[in-house]
């Protein structure tokens, strides 16, 4: 089943996916993915959330190869907007805009698009290869996991999110807890008690995490656009010249792609960090190692090549813990976990054994998706640029319409639209006060699971709490959890105390708070 059979499994995966129907869904996925990548304000987690009610009637494999294509495609498409409009198409392409837009102004926009697309292909293929090699190893290890290990692992995923998301630890901590709090609403599966329903029958079924994702990301974004759209000015550069890189640009891109791929994959596997942090870390690496580091900020090709490779590699990396352990580390993989749940599937070690065709079909489809995306994003880039001509007010009104439609189609209930409106206002407020949104979605998905594993652990040990600290793997994981909570606290206290010493030293100029 494992190990040396990887190649046999992969060939099997290709044979599953290379049918007209499945190929059609791969193509559909990469096309949608690129489109939403190019359009600012719509990301992969939101798109997959909106598509869930529609895909319910499909075979799981069709749905998942499409989601995989959307996830990868969004990472490709995001760079186009960053380079030509100086507005990132995705948050993971924020840093790309710095040097990419400068390159476009100098007439090297074509080369910037080329290095982004080819680097994305290189990184995406590398990450898929690593996913294929690493996931089965992790699965073999995870087969020994019981409830206490899964509990500790999910707690670790949440605490890592808290430690890594955003600038402010208390804000990330609150965002995670808010998601967990939403996950508690509804009937408690173990005892049948209603929780936080306040007598409202519509709340008995709980708040669907998909709705949380749509409300926070889509509806919140529309409210945000209402508040800002008339006050922002966009400077667009038309694409001039060829889409070919010259010799020097190739030579400078290669090392950046390689660094970005490795950084991106590692960050992707770690829970909580995700594509945006991967792209920033890659940019930092370029500032240190790139040949043209003194040009960074004024249109150095490494500043595009590295981060764009990194965000693609992180997408492949994020699929490792999702598929092998059933634990999502980002908003997009959290929504994909919900998709698995809708189909009655549980990602994790057993998925590899029981649904080999699905898992390997998905992995094989990612290789195909990468190839398709390279074609879609390089020779055909001029078509995608046209998407940017869609008037923003119409675009956002459309997003709002599809959000409300998605939620209604899923529940056949207008009350769910009321909750969606409330979540949209919440998303707007969280964004205004700079709270990270992904941990909320992650918390809403993981909340019920984490509680289940916690209670299951204590049922196994007959209410002996030492179960979390006496099993070796659980002990290691719990130690990591405790460390990840203590580090930001120490950090904050240390910073505060240093600030106080700074005051006594008379360096008042630096204290703004």
């Amino acid at each position: 089943m494992f190990g040396g059979d990887i190649w046999a499994n992969l060939i099997n995966g290709f044979s599953v996916v290379l049918t007209p129907q499945h190929l059609l869904f791969v193509m559909l996925g990469v096309t949608i993915g690129t489109a939403i990548g190019v359009l600012p304000g719509i990301g992969p987690s939101l798109t997959i959330s909106l598509l869930l009610p529609v895909t319910f009637g499909l075979e799981p494999i069709s749905a998942f190869v499409m989601f995989g294509g959307i996830f990868y495609g969004a990472m490709y498409g995001g760079s186009t907007t960053s380079i030509l409009v100086n507005t990132p198409g995705e948050s993971s392409s924020v840093v790309t805009a710095i040097d990419g837009f400068q390159m476009a102004k100098k007439g090297r926009g074509g080369a910037a698009l080329a290095t982004a697309a080819i680097g994305s292909f290189f990184a995406g293929t590398f990450a898929t290869l690593m996913l294929m090699l690493m996931a089965p190893l992790l699965v073999r290890f995870a087969l020994q996991f019981g409830a206490p290990e899964y509990f500790a692992l999910m707690l670790l995923a949440l605490s890592a999110v808290t430690g890594l998301a955003g600038q402010s630890a208390p804000k990330a901590f609150f965002a995670t807890l808010l998601g967990l709090a939403m996950g508690m609403v509804g009937i408690d599966l173990q005892t049948g008690q209603a929780r936080f329903t306040f007598g409202n029958l519509n709340l008995l079924g709980g708040i669907d995490p998909v709705m949380v994702a749509i409300g926070l990301f889509a509806v919140g974004e529309v409210f945000w656009a209402a508040g800002t759209l008339k006050r922002t000015f966009e400077e667009t550069v038309t694409l001039r010249g060829s889409l070919l890189m010259n010799r020097a640009e190739w030579q400078r891109s290669w090392p950046a792609w390689a660094r970005g791929s490795v950084i991106g994959f590692i960050i992707g596997v770690l829970p909580g960090a995700g594509a945006t942090i991967a792209s920033f870390l890659s940019y930092n690496a370029e500032q240190r190692f790139a040949k043209g580091k003194h040009e960074l900020g004024q249109g150095a090709i490494e500043g595009v090549a590295g981060p764009e490779a990194a965000n693609n590699a992180s997408a492949g990396g994020a699929l490792v813990p999702l598929l092998a352990l059933g634990i999502p580390g980002s908003a997009t993989t959290a929504v994909m976990l919900v998709a698995f749940q809708i189909y009655g599937l549980r990602p994790g070690p057993l998925l590899f054994q029981e649904q080999g065709d699905l898992v390997w079909g998905l992995i094989a489809s990612l290789y195909i998706a990468n190839l398709a995306l390279l074609v879609l994003n390089l020779p055909m880039v001029r078509i995608w640029i046209k998407l940017l001509d869609v008037p923003k007010p119409v675009l956002y009104a459309g997003i709002l319409t599809f959000s409300l439609l998605g939620v209604y189609a899923d529940t056949q209930n207008t009350f769910s639209m009321v909750i969606l409106l409330a979540l949209g206002v919440l998303g707007f407020l969280l964004r205004r006060y700079d709270f990270p949104l992904a941990p909320v979605v992650l918390g809403a998905v993981l909340g019920p699971l984490i509680e289940q594993e916690y209670r299951r652990s204590l049922a196994i040990s007959v209410n002996d709490y030492s179960v979390f600290f006496t099993r070796p793997i659980a002990l290691v994981l719990m130690t990591l959890v405790i460390m990840s909570f203590l580090v930001p606290i120490f950090n904050a206290v240390w910073k505060a105390s240093r600030r106080r010493t700074a005051v006594t030293a008379g360096a008042v100029g630096e204290i703004e708070d």
């Binding site: 208390p170 923003k392 009104a397 409106l421 209670r455």
Partner: protein, 150 residues
Amino acid sequence: MRAIRWVALAIVMFGAFYLWGALQIRESTTYAAVGPRFMPNAIGLGIVLSGVWLFAFPGAPPAPDSPQAMSLDWVSIGLMVLLVAAYVALFRVAGYVLATTLLLWGGAQILGDRHHLVRDGVIAVALAVVIYYVFSQLLRINLPPGPLGF
């Protein structure tokens, strides 16, 4: 006091409300040590703590050019919220196509598309009709027909 400290206070109050909500959960009298109240209590406590933490360490004030410091068009935001509320209220009464046309057209106007009243109207009607037929005919997901039958 800075706005973020008010947010922190609101978080503390929300945590207290959540803990009160947890008290309303009936604890079952079964064997398990961990009942349905345990996790909600832990989460509520955590929320209160996160609010206190944020109050104590609110971080540096937002940079003048950041989205947090930007002055917002509150009228448009309020109109947008009202539009969605009206949409929900009209959804069953007016039917999907009518309500959605209003949402799309009204939304585009609020978002600042004042010079394209007719074009947006055409887009709104077309999109609403297409969605209605794709969902009710092809996907067999029911959308409210309204008094006009669509």
